[in-house]
């Protein structure tokens, strides 16, 4: 009897592991304001939206820079992280009436008068690796506008016919700032430890949100996301 119970418990445990949606990590903050969830482009009824804390990455960034100019151009899978990038043309504005420009330098910007300021780009990672850094290349020559780049994980249960409840986590943010004009910018953020890729139940995207549409004075050029192994 107890053996049967143990077997049933084992199967139940495996079943739970198989159906649980991805969980936010300790320290993540759930966004409870429906208006804010809607403004982020999600549904307050069906989407649990979380925000990862800002991770103090100064020491890690110093180590990256000291190692090799902070850019893993020489691929060594045993040492260096691996990455996926999206560039300007990968972004699609949220709504067809957006006024946009994808110029020859492969950057994306939104044009004055555009009613849509948000563009999304799908990005993919291999399963069972840890997302580490998000690097952003942008040009911000405006003292009145900027572009905020965010990395999102959107998860729902595998093979659940009612796929309505989804867990969304904003993994990282790089913002060029509204009131300053840093010009060409290489910004980055570390998403913190143990942000595992769950490609069985999660999809990922990068979102560019322009605070105002000021044309080519604010452009997003490229976003690179790095990961590592065990």
């Amino acid at each position: 009897m107890k053996l049967r119970l143990a077997v049933a418990t084992t199967l139940f445990g495996l079943g739970l592991a198989g159906t649980a949606p991805a969980d936010p990590l300790p320290g993540d903050t759930r966004i409870m304001d429906p208006a804010e969830i809607t403004a982020l482009g999600f549904n307050p009824v069906t989407d649990e939206v979380w925000r990862a804390p800002t991770f103090d990455h100064d020491e890690l960034l110093a180590a990256r820079i000291a190692r090799d100019g902070a850019s893993p151009q020489t691929l060594d899978p045993l040492v260096d992280p691996i990455w996926t990038s999206v560039a300007g043309p990968d972004f699609q504005f949220r709504g067809q009436n957006a006024l946009t420009t994808f110029n020859s330098s492969y950057s994306v910007s939104c044009q004055p008068g555009s009613p849509v300021r948000t563009a999304d780009a799908a990005i993919e990672f291999p399963n069972d690796h840890r997302i580490t850094w998000m690097d952003v290349w942008a040009i911000d020559d405006s003292a009145t506008a900027g572009v905020e780049t965010t990395l999102w994980e959107i998860c729902q249960r595998v093979n659940d016919p009612d796929s309505s409840l989804r867990t969304v986590v904003q993994l990282g943010v790089v913002d060029t700032g509204v009131a300053n004009a840093p010009g060409p910018l290489w910004g980055n953020t570390h998403v913190g430890p143990n942000r595992w890729v769950h490609s069985t139940r999660c999809s990922y995207m990068v979102r560019a949100t322009f605070s105002a549409c000021e044309g080519s004075s604010v452009r997003l050029q490229k976003v690179r996301v790095l990961w590592d192994y065990d």
Partner: protein, 196 residues
């Protein structure tokens, strides 16, 4: 003795659950890819859309003879075999009829016209709230030298516009098999670590 077996099994359960805590049990030689709905490419400029909750949502407010089509191109390594292409989405009661297809178009170096093949098709069966998952099974080996693959959703707006209900694609989920899995991923236990 039975208690010992029971405790051992329970410990095994906890260990297995811990090892699998990050991902559900999977076939060891199966790879998974997710393409978010916002990556969808409309087939025509008249196919109006928006992004909602990371999904691609049809917003055509008038009817017309031609369907609204959204495509999700993808590439798999040559060594993979496409097993299932699943589409997650929503098609509420008032929304136009919807079908999903898996397509392949091929053109070798000595061909003038491509050959486009419908590999699989499916009709969503939404639940009461309109949510659905369609699964298209093909088991086809990618021919990346000559061919390109995509999944697509077709919204039949000939009599019902999209805006009378909700018609959207949340994501495309591709399951592909690797014939010769070596080690990476097979023994993964997702061991957490601390950063400074």
């Amino acid at each position: 003795m039975r208690n010992a077996i029971s405790m051992t099994a329970l410990a095994g359960c906890l260990l297995a659950s811990s090892a699998l805590a990050n991902d559900p049990p999977t076939f060891h030689n199966r790879e998974y890819r997710q393409i978010t709905g916002a990556a969808g490419q409309p087939a025509r400029t008249a196919d109006t859309f928006t992004h909602a909750n990371g999904s691609y949502r049809c917003t055509n407010s008038t009817t017309r003879a031609s369907a609204h089509v959204v495509r999700f191109p993808f590439t798999l390594p040559d060594s993979h075999q496409v097993a299932f292409v699943n589409m997650y989405g929503r098609n509420t009661a008032g929304a136009p009829p919807m079908t999903t297809r898996l397509m392949k178009t091929c053109m070798s170096q000595d061909e003038v016209n491509p050959t486009t093949t419908e590999l699989a098709t499916a009709t969503p069966s939404p639940n009461a709230n309109g949510y659905f998952i369609t699964s298209m099974s093909i088991f086809d080996t990618p021919q990346n030298l000559d061919c390109r693959y995509w999944a697509e959703a077709r919204f039949d707006i000939s009599t019902i516009p999209c805006t009378t209900g909700t018609s959207e694609v949340q994501k495309v989920f591709i399951e592909a098999d690797i014939p010769d899995r070596i080690f990476r991923g097979m023994f993964n236990t997702n061991v957490d670590y601390d950063l400074p």
